[in-house]
Symmetry: C2
Subunit: 148 residues, 2 copies
């Protein structure tokens, strides 16, 4: 099954800082979508909302401080339901590296192409939030095809 | 085998304009790398060069005007050799959509994660070149981990 893979390095950010940006609701809302609700604890569900209240509900499956976060999509677009999103962290020189994977897609549909590009830009938003204090969460996200 | 997939939409650009940005050497050098050499004809080889003359040699396998471009990597990093890069174009409303695929990776290695993110940003560079006249080709490309 095809996966979406990405890798970024965040300068001058500790593993703890990056982990916090993936787990604290007020930080998640600083790079993905301003409308982030729910509880970031194992077994809890995070709600990420976008245009017209569409969005994703993520069950938190793993929280390994400063190392790994794993979510599973429990509600959202049908192509996303059941897929898993993992964030693996490691230190390299003066940067924290994030290895990102969105796995479990059944088919490499056109929407998956779109999501792959959007994830890259949300990762850049996360990098910007941590490096400069300013991310680009929805609705201020980078648009890749005019509307989205 | 895992693939890298992306999708962008370019506003107010015709299929012909986008096709030209993927085939004319002077346009390729406006969004991927300034150091682009070679011949964009079927059977020809394009040379894309980056830091310290490292880069990719792409054999042009298909050129279907305003519809599709297909390259195969004939020299470059070992993980890239033999892989194929396809660009499929279509019109949607006032945009030209690019469906991008980099296929033939043997393993989802960390370098593949890196390349996936870089491709997204080079696609945004291509979009910017066509929409605003200014791309971000190497060495002015968006850095995703400090150095690259």
């Amino acid at each position: 099954m095809p996966d979406i893979l990405h890798r970024i390095g965040i300068k001058f950010s500790s593993l703890d800082n990056v982990y916090e940006a993936l787990t604290a609701r007020e930080n998640l809302s600083g790079w993905w979508t301003k409308d982030t609700q729910g509880e970031s604890k194992v077994g809890g569900v995070l709600q990420f909302r976008f245009f017209e209240a569409d969005g994703f509900d993520m069950k938190v499956l793993e929280l390994d401080p400063a190392r790994r976060v794993l979510w599973q999509v429990v509600d959202g677009p049908k192509e996303w339901i059941g897929t898993k999103i993992s964030w693996d962290l490691k230190q390299e020189a003066e940067s924290t590296i994030i290895l990102f994977k969105h796995e479990g897609w059944k088919e490499p549909v056109e929407f998956m192409h779109h999501c792959s590009t959007k994830w890259a830009l949300f990762l850049m938003s996360l990098k910007s939030l941590l490096e400069t204090g300013k991310g680009a969460p929805y609705p201020n996200d980078f648009k890749i095809d005019g509307q989205y």
